[in-house]
Amino acid sequence: MSARDEILRRVRSALSGVSPAEDLPPAPRVPDRGDLVALFVERVEDYRAVVTRCAVADREAAVAEALAGASVVVPPGLDLDVPGSVVDDRLTADELDRIDAVVTRARVGIAETGTIVLDHQPDQGRRAISLVPDLHVCIVDVSQVVPDIPDAIALLDPARPTTWISGPSATSDIELDRVEGVHGPRKLHVVLVG
C-alpha cells in the first residue's frame, strides 16, 4: 500500500464513529474603533516603523524624502515616478543585495494590527524585491485601510502569494527582548496617501 493510501486509511480508521463538527461559531468582529486611519498610523508606528501622511499631489516628494538619496529598485507596474530608480527586470538576489531601498504599493492596510499586505501584483513586484533591500518604502492609500484581519482576508486572493508586514524585521530570540533589524528590511517607511 502506498504511503498516501496507508495514511488516509489510518485517518479514516482513527475517525470511525466520530461525527463531523457542527456549524462553526462565527469569529467575533472588532468593535468600531472610530478613526481607522488614525488607528492604522498609531499601530504601524508602534512597531517603530515610520509613517508619513501626505496628499496625492505630494506623493513623489514624500517618497523622495523617505529615500534620502538611497539607491532604489521599483516594480515594473509602479504608478509613480521615482527618479534614479532601477526597474526590476529579474534582478538576481546578489544584484538586489547591492541596492539600498525598494518602493512598492500595497494591497491592503489593517488598522487593528498595523499590518500592510502585499499581494505582489505588478505595482508591488516579485516577493524578492521587497525583501532583500534594507529600506522598504511602501505607499498605502487611505482608502486601502480596513478595520481588521478578516476584512483583509476577504479582499485577498489566495491564489496569489501574499506577504503580511507588521513593522521592520524583528526578533525576540535573545531573552525575549524585542529588537528590530534581522534579515528582512531593517527600516519600514509607510507613505500614507490621502
Binding site: A27, D148, W164, P168, I174, L176, H183
Partner: protein, 492 residues
C-alpha cells in the same frame, strides 16, 4: 526515530539536574515572565478573546474531524497549483523524500526556516548523514545549532541561553561554518542579531534549495502559511529555486477564511504582539516569483495515533504558540530539556505520549510532569484541555503496566486497598491497624501540622519518594465507624 531525544533520562532525573542549574533558572524566570506579561497585555486588548478562542478551536476541530476529505482536497489543490505532493508515514520516509529532492539538484547544503516538524523528524541529522548540510536560519535555532545544543522552547529554542552565552557561542563557532562574528561583538541583543544577519546573508543569497514547515495548510486553495518575525522565512521561501515544505497532516484548515481566527490568535498568544512582523502565504508555484519547484511532504509520524484517541485528539489542534510553556510553573523551573523532546512543556507532556505511545520510560514519565494547575488550558488559544489529557495519559501509562509480571509498588498498594475496602471485616481490621499506627506516630513524631495533628517524617522503602517532599499526617487513632459505634452516631 521517535519524537524524543535519544538517550534522555526520564523527566524526574532530568528535572533534578536542571533544577540545580541556577543560571538556567534565572534565564528561564526572566524570559517566561517577560513574555507572559506581553501576552497578557495584548490579549486584554481583545474584548471578545474568549469567543475568538472558541472560533479558533472550532476551525481546527472541524478540520480534524473530517481530515481525510481535507487532505485529499489539499493534495488536489496543491497539485493544481503546480506543487508536487509527497506522503510520509514516519520520520524516516519524510527525511528520505527531502534528501532525494536535495540530491536531485546536486546540492550539499539547504537553508531552513524554523520548523517544529523537521525538528521532530530529525531532518538535519538525516541530511547530514547523506552529506547535506542544513543551515538553520532562525536566530534561536542558529544559536542552538552553533552551540551543539538541544532546543528547549517551541518558539524560542535558545530561551535557556542569556545574551552573554549567545555572544560566546557566536564568537567561538560562526567562523567555523561561514562568516565569522565581528571582533567588536558585544552582548547587546541588537548587535547579536546584526551579526546573525551578516553571517546568514551569504547563505541565503547562494542557496538553491530551502526547507520549511508550515503553520497552516489551506485545503481548498492549496495555500501554505508561514508565520515568522525575522525575515529568514521570507528569504528561504522566496530566493531559492526549490522549496520543500514538511507539513504535519494536522496543520490543515478547510478554507482560506478559516485563517481569520487563527491569524488573530497566534501572534498574540505566541510572541505577545498584535501581529508578527512577517506572514507569508503561497499556493504552489507562482510563475516568475519565488521557487519554481515546490514540494510538500504531508507527514503522519504518529498523528493518526493521536487522532484515534478520543480524549487526546484535541492536542492536534495545537498551533505551536508556546503560551502553555510560558505560564507553566513546572516549565518555568526546569526548562525544556528535561522533557527530552522538541515539544517541551505542558503540550509536550501530552503530545509526545500521544504521538509515540507510552512504552518507553522517558515518554511515560511526561504526563506526570505537571501539577495539574490548569494555567496551560486557560491560555491555550485553541482551548486544548491539557490537564484532562494529562490525567487520561496517566491512565494510559498505568494501563500499559497491567500485564507486567512484576507489578509496580503503586499497583500492589492499590490492589491491597481495593481488597481491604471491599469487605467490612477487612476494613475494620485495617482501621484498627491504622489507629494503632496513629498512636505510635503520635508518641514519636516530632512534626506537628497546623491544627495540631502530628505527621510522619520520611518513611523508608518505596514510600520514601512520596514522603521526601510531603508531610504524611499520622492516621487518626479512632476511625469514623469506631466513633459511630462508641457514641451511637453522636447521640450520647
Amino acid at each position: 526515530m521517535s519524537g524524543t531525544f535519544v538517550g534522555m533520562p526520564a523527566f524526574p532525573t532530568a528535572a533534578r539536574e536542571a533544577l540545580g542549574d541556577t543560571q538556567l533558572r534565572r534565564n528561564l524566570a526572566h524570559a517566561t515572565h517577560t513574555i507572559r506579561d506581553k501576552r497578557a497585555a495584548v490579549v486584554a486588548e481583545v474584548e471578545d478573546w474568549e469567543d475568538l478562542r472558541l472560533a479558533g478551536a472550532a476551525v481546527k476541530e472541524a478540520a480534524l474531524r473530517d481530515l481525510a476529505t481535507h487532505l485529499e482536497t489539499l493534495e488536489e489543490s496543491l497539485t493544481r497549483a503546480g506543487a508536487t505532493v509527497h506522503w510520509a508515514r514516519d520520520a524516516e520516509e519524510a527525511c528520505a523524500i527531502v534528501a532525494e529532492v536535495a540530491r536531485s539538484h546536486g546540492v550539499d547544503e539547504v537553508v531552513k526556516v524554523k520548523s517544529m516538524a523537521t525538528g521532530e523528524i530529525g531532518l538535519n541529522e538525516a541530511l547530514e548523514a547523506e552529506g547535506i548540510l542544513a543551515w538553520e536560519t532562525d536566530l534561536a535555532e542558529l544559536i542552538v545549532q552553533l552551540g551543539d545544543d538541544l532546543p528547549s522552547h517551541i518558539l524560542v529554542p535558545a530561551i535557556h541561553r542569556n545574551r552573554a552565552e549567545v555572544r560566546e557561542i557566536f564568537r567561538r563557532r560562526m567562523g567555523d561554518v561561514g562568516r565569522p562574528a565581528p571582533d567588536d561583538l558585544t552582548d547587546e541583543p541588537a548587535v547579536l542579531a546584526g551579526a546573525a544577519r551578516e553571517h546568514l546573508r551569504e547563505k541565503f543569497l547562494r542557496a538553491k534549495v530551502a526547507v520549511s514547515g508550515a503553520n497552516f495548510a489551506v485545503a481548498d486553495t492549496g495555500t501554505l502559511v508561514v508565520v515568522e518575525s525575522e525575515g529568514n522565512g521570507r528569504m528561504c521561501l522566496t530566493l531559492p529555486e526549490v522549496l520543500v515544505s514538511v507539513v504535519g497532516i494536522e496543520k490543515v484548515v478547510a478554507t482560506w477564511s478559516d485563517l481569520d481566527p487563527m491569524l488573530r490568535l497566534l501572534p498574540r498568544s505566541s510572541t505577545g504582539e498584535r501581529m508578527n512582523p512577517y506572514t507569508s502565504t503561497w499556493s504552489g508555484v507562482t510563475p516568475g516569483d519565488g521557487p519554481q519547484e515546490v514540494h510538500v511532504v504531508l507527514l503522519d509520524n504518529g498523528r493518526t495515533r493521536a487522532l484515534a484517541d478520543d480524549v487526546g485528539r484535541q492536542a492536534l489542534r495545537c498551533i505551536r504558540c508556546s503560551a502553555c510553556l510560558n505560564v507553566c510553573p513546572v516549565y518555568e523551573r526546569v526548562g525544556g530539556h528535561a522533557y527530552g523532546s522538541v515539544y517541551p512543556g505542558p503540550i509536550g507532556a501530552i503530545l509526545n505520549p500521544l504521538l509515540n505511545g507510552v512504552a518507553d520510560e522517558q515518554t511515560a514519565s511526561l504526563p506526570y510532569a505537571s501539577s495539574l494547575c490548569g494555567a496551560c488550558f486557560e491560555v491555550c488559544p485553541v482551548r486544548i484541555d491539557i490537564p484532562s489529557v494529562l490525567v487520561d495519559q496517566r491512565a494510559a501509562v498505568v494501563d500499559s503496566h497491567r500485564g507486567d509480571r512484576v507489578p509496580k509498588a503503586e499497583a500492589v498498594a492499590m490492589k491491597t486497598a481495593a481488597w481491604a475496602f471491599s469487605d467490612s471485616r477487612r476494613l475494620a481490621w485495617a482501621e484498627k491497624a491504622s489507629g494503632l499506627a496513629g498512636r505510635v506516630l503520635g508518641r514519636f513524631s516530632r512534626t506537628t501540622l497546623p491544627g495540631g495533628r502530628t505527621a510522619a517524617g520520611r518513611l523508608p522503602g518505596p514510600a520514601a519518594g512520596w514522603t521526601g517532599a510531603r508531610d504524611l499526617p499520622a492516621p487518626p487513632t479512632e476511625s469514623f465507624r469506631e466513633w459511630w459505634d462508641r457514641t451511637d452516631g453522636g447521640r450520647t
